[in-house]
């Protein structure tokens, strides 16, 4: 385009061409369309604005193919049929159905476009009618309008996929090789999410990685600690890496609400629920199971919220999470969910039901997997007004064989507690008394690993005591129960070793309502949360003695680190004040505390299970002195270093302060005269500096003379 001429040039040129410049009416000049001769118009912006289209996307439009080709006369009939089919799944927009016709013949072309109000409805319509048989020759093929582009771009000829050269990945478990053997944890406070080392020896937390707005709702470690999962509007993501946190994989799942890893962290289950556009419809839920490493969807489940609500006749709208419970230990072989009168067990080889059918169990109320074996226990309440007793059964998978069953009478409720090695199952049974006015509690103990699975019944000393909390010793043979109706309940410890349940001890009148065993056993925290304001008692179950009592005022959460060396107690934002966390040693010594406003989450990074055999672990525990020498020396060194650093720091602070004070003194001295002037010459500074002086005063009270006889 020509450069813009100056007015001078224009006049010159006009004179040359003999044009009378003054006679030109500027407004009458019309430029050719689409040509501005290099002159920018002030109106351009306006035009651009007008031509803006609403770029809402075409997610709510579907394309239906394989419709019959009909002549003009039958057009309306076909349109009516199509409209009828597609109005069932959602509301078609006004003028939202468009069936193109051949211009010359008026025949339809065999496809149409349908526009819904929402993408969700379009998605549903596609799902429901893809493959719909109108008749033998016309099977609908339904696609999203947005996807047409994608299909157009499919090349006609097959090309072999490029094989990328193998690049070794990072060691995602580098954190386990920390020289100082520390553990990591993640905290979420305000908008920041932060991963830190628990540097307990230095009595502080050492930052690893921090990121604001890392997640939109919460974070979660995978069960073996390899990944940290974050949740976003578009889906979930996992992070990890050797030294820092990089995004390793994303899992698309719009509006994801909840996530759950399989115990061996091979799979990730994501869950979302969607409000229906029609208020009469139920909530729809979507569950996806992803392969964690490839990010592929292995199986998706869609349905109404009612189908996935657990407990059958619960009557609540949400689902209890996790919907799918993983069984069979760390191999991630089976997962199952409970439905109405059935339990569906899937296997991960095909992601289908085992034997292609669910296990029918009338009125099943609860089920739970053994933590280590493909065995699950179910609880069925009484039926027919007591004619059919309640029962607890154990099922083996994949054979679906019932291993053991126990009938129970006049039961009001059952709770199942697996020991972490899957060796024992304790079932807490609440039974009605004869009058049906109150309940009492008993326990049924299943010894899973023994022949024929013997069952033992036992009761508390006072069977009318209400059981407040129950917890197995991890990997151990003991359990703790908080029981009693007093404001200060009792805590009892039992052992199941030697084929019989025996009581170890009962601690009377404790301010406790929750039990937290150390993951390595031996130690337990009796915690008084909520009403007890955060009372903590650190108890050694081997020696049956209290190691320490302490308090973390208002504490809401308690979590042991995966090694059982340290405990974190935290006050999360359910309380307005005191937010933050404390780190304690296993024996109840407060190591350090960090306060953070709007504190949401504290999670230790889990560790994979140890490769040592239980015998070896036992041996190490017995000969701890031999092994601990090395660490004692290290501890000593660090504590010397710490006090050294501390002294240094204090000296520094003191020196700095000394400098300030000297400077102030100097100013004060310099300004002395001026100050006197301001005070009308009153020499008053002396009094400003108070000095405590001791003055001795001697006073003569009395004088008397006495002659002392010489001995």
């Amino acid at each position: 385009m020509a450069d813009v001429m100056s007015m001078e040039d224009i006049r010159k040129e006009a004179a040359q061409l003999n044009i009378d410049f003054s006679g030109v009416d500027w407004n009458s000049i019309r430029l050719p369309h689409g040509e501005d001769c290099g002159i920018k118009s002030d109106d351009d912006d306006l035009i651009e604005e007008d031509s803006l289209e609403f770029d809402a996307g075409f997610g709510n439009i579907i394309v239906v193919d394989n419709l019959p080709v009909v002549p003009k006369e039958k057009f309306e009939k076909l349109e009516g049929v199509v409209r009828k089919i597609y109005s069932q799944t959602g509301v078609i927009k006004e003028n939202g159905l468009w069936m193109p016709v051949e211009e010359d013949t008026g025949k339809t072309r065999g496809y149409c476009f349908i526009e819904y109000n929402t993408p969700q409805e379009a998605e549903l319509a596609k799902e429901k009618t893809h493959g719909y048989k109108l008749d033998r020759a016309h099977i609908f093929s339904v696609n999203m309008f947005d996807e047409i582009d994608k299909f157009m771009r499919v090349p006609d000829e097959w090309a072999p996929p490029e094989i990328k050269p193998y690049t070794p990945g990072e060691n995602l478990q580098r954190w386990l090789t920390d020289e100082k053997g520390r553990d990591q944890f993640v905290i979420r406070a305000g908008s920041d999410t932060e991963v830190l080392w628990n540097d307990a020896r230095q009595l502080k937390a050492d930052p690893v990685y921090k990121r604001p707005f890392w997640t939109e709702s919460f974070v979660q470690w995978s069960p073996l600690g390899t990944y940290l999962a974050t949740v976003h509007r578009q889906g979930a993501a996992v992070w990890g890496g050797a030294s820092t946190f990089n995004r390793l994989m994303r899992y698309a799942h719009p509006q994801v609400k909840l996530i759950d890893f399989s115990p061996g962290e091979k799979y990730l289950v994501t869950y979302s629920s969607h409000e229906p556009s029609n208020p009469r419809d139920t909530h729809r839920v979507v569950l996806n199971i992803f392969d964690v490493r490839t990010g592929k969807v292995m199986r998706d489940f869609k349905g109404s919220a009612d189908e996935y609500a657990i407990g059958g006749t619960g009557g609540f709208t949400g689902v209890s999470w996790p919907v799918f419970k993983w069984g069979g230990g760390k191999e991630d072989k089976y997962f199952a969910r409970m439905g109405k009168n059935l339990i569906s067990v899937y296997e991960t080889e095909t992601f289908g039901l085992i034997d292609k059918k669910s296990i029918k169990v009338e009125n099943v109320m609860d089920f739970s997997w053994s933590p280590t074996d493909p065995i699950f226990a179910i609880f069925v309440p009484e039926l027919g007004g007591g004619n059919q007793p309640a029962r607890v059964s154990l099922f083996q998978i994949p054979s679906k064989e019932e291993l053991r069953q126990k009938n129970l009478f006049s039961v009001s409720d059952c709770k199942m507690y697996w020991q972490s090695n899957g060796e024992y199952l304790a079932v807490k049974v609440d039974r009605y008394t004869k009058t049906k006015k109150s309940t009492y509690t008993g326990f049924e103990l299943f010894r899973i690993k023994e022949r024929d699975i013997p069952i033992e019944v036992f009761e508390l000393d006072n069977k009318n005591d209400k059981v407040i909390s129950f917890a197995w010793e991890p990997k151990g043979h003991r359990f703790a129960v908080i029981h009693g109706d007093n404001p200060r309940p009792d805590v009892s410890f039992y052992s199941v070793k030697g084929g019989k349940v025996s009581k170890l001890t009962t601690l009377k009148q404790k301010q406790a309502n929750a039990l937290f065993w150390s993951p390595s056993g031996h130690f337990i925290i009796l915690a008084g949360l909520k009403g007890f304001n955060g009372q903590l008692e650190f108890y050694n179950v081997d020696e049956l003695e209290t190691m320490a009592t302490a308090e973390h005022f208002m504490a809401t959460d308690i979590e042991w680190d995966p090694t059982g060396r340290y405990v974190a107690t935290s006050v999360t934002s359910v309380h307005e004040m005191e937010n933050g966390f404390n780190i304690w040693s296993f024996n109840g010594k407060l190591l350090y505390r960090i306060l953070k406003d709007h504190f949401f989450q504290f999670l230790w990074r889990p560790r994979p299970p140890s490769f040592l055999s239980p015998e070896k672990e036992e041996e190490i525990f017995k000969n701890l002195k031999k092994y601990s020498k090395k660490y004692d020396v290290q501890d000593q060194d660090i504590s010397v270093l710490l006090s050294e650093q501390d002294r240094e720091k204090r000296k520094q602070l003191k020196d700095d302060w000394e400098r300030w004070v000297n400077e102030w003194k100097r100013y004060h001295e310099e300004e002395k005269m001026e100050r006197q002037m301001l005070r009308d010459g009153e020499a008053s500074d002396v009094e400003e500096e108070y000095e405590a002086k001791e003055i001795e005063v001697e006073e003569l009270l009395d004088v008397s003379e006495e002659v002392i006889q010489d001995a």
Partner: protein, 327 residues
């Protein structure tokens, strides 16, 4: 040490001030009568009647003859300490808040709140030696900061005025020209409303307390930040020991936000910090409402606290207190 409870006010305490000799304690509260007490035994000496609104602040002249009070009734009043008679009333168009006598007591600074469209302001008044000559004209009026000014005090040699308030910024003004000389660096400053300010005896440094749950120590001349004391509660009141390197922070959960019945939940403690190490060294419990006012006796051997609960608690330190090792 058993604290002496002084129950003379019917409403929450707002301010406490010792005279220079340390034998009198003046207390201000939301009831309308500032009160004077014997600082040694807590005996009530008398009240100053005349205000018609909450009294926010007071200051007493060096020779303990004049008392200046700032009140929500839109006045600041000058009283005769001994007789309790009103000597003069400064009238404003909005509630008066902070008051402070200059070195030499010839000038006084009085701040007024933002009110009915008026912005907050800092007024400098001349205090006449003879109350009959007293006039109400301002020598200087400083305006600028948005929001309430909670405290304004004289800097060294009356050359500057230091102000702090709702906008969390500490400002130093030139008293000759009325110009704004300095604002504290945003990076180091408080994040929320500054509620209180206490000068050191020699005026070389001062301590500010803020709702951001911290207190900060500043140099009065350069306005450089020297120390920060972090606590768990919003800070309503601060004081510095004139004797030892201790600072005291008082505060607590806002009375309206107290939801739990447990008195510990509010943390209505006066907390002692080591001035140099910035570490907490102790606390004095007792109030059952947030602490609104703190003052140290100029001899450093006692201090008093005033709470939302309407009590003034007077604490004489035990001999052990003076044995607390510093560093």
């Amino acid at each position: 040490m058993r604290p002496i409870l002084m129950k003379g006010h019917e409403r929450p305490l707002t301010f406490l001030k010792y005279n220079r000799d340390g034998d009198l304690l003046f207390s201000c509260a939301k009831d309308h009568t500032p009160t004077v007490w014997f600082a040694d035994n807590g005996e009530r000496l008398g009240t100053y009647r005349g205000h018609n609104g909450a009294v926010w602040c007071c200051d007493v002249s060096r020779d303990s003859t004049r008392l200046l009070t700032g009140s929500a009734d839109q006045t600041a009043k000058l009283w005769d300490v001994q007789s309790g008679t009103q000597l003069f009333t400064f009238n404003f168009d909005s509630p008066a808040r902070a008051v402070d006598f200059s070195v030499g007591d010839k000038l006084a600074v009085i701040t007024t709140d933002p009110f009915m469209g008026l912005t907050s302001a800092i007024h400098v008044k001349r205090i006449a030696a003879d109350p009959d000559d007293q006039v109400g004209d301002s020598v200087l009026v400083l305006k600028g900061p948005l929001g309430r000014i909670n405290r304004a005090v004289w800097g060294p040699l009356n050359k500057t005025i230091i102000s702090a308030g709702e906008d969390a910024v500490i400002r130093i003004w030139d008293t000759e020209t009325g110009k704004l000389l300095q604002e504290n660096e945003k990076e180091f400053g408080h994040k929320k409303t500054i509620t209180s300010l206490a000068k050191s005896t020699d005026c070389s440094h001062f301590l500010t307390g803020s709702l951001d749950k911290s207190a900060k120590l500043w140099d009065s001349r350069s306005l450089s930040l020297i120390k920060t004391y972090v606590t768990e509660r919003p800070v309503n009141a601060v004081a510095m020991s004139p004797l030892l390197n201790h600072v005291v922070l008082g505060g607590g959960q806002d009375a309206s936000a107290v939801t739990t019945t447990d008195h510990r939940a509010g943390k209505f403690e006066a907390k002692f910090y080591d001035k140099i190490l910035q570490e907490e060294i102790g606390g004095v419990k007792g109030h059952f409402g947030p602490i609104n006012a703190l003052a140290f006796n100029p001899d450093g051997k006692s201090f008093s606290s005033g709470g939302e609960d309407g009590y003034v608690r007077l604490h004489h330190f035990d001999s052990e207190y003076f044995k607390i090792p510093s560093i």
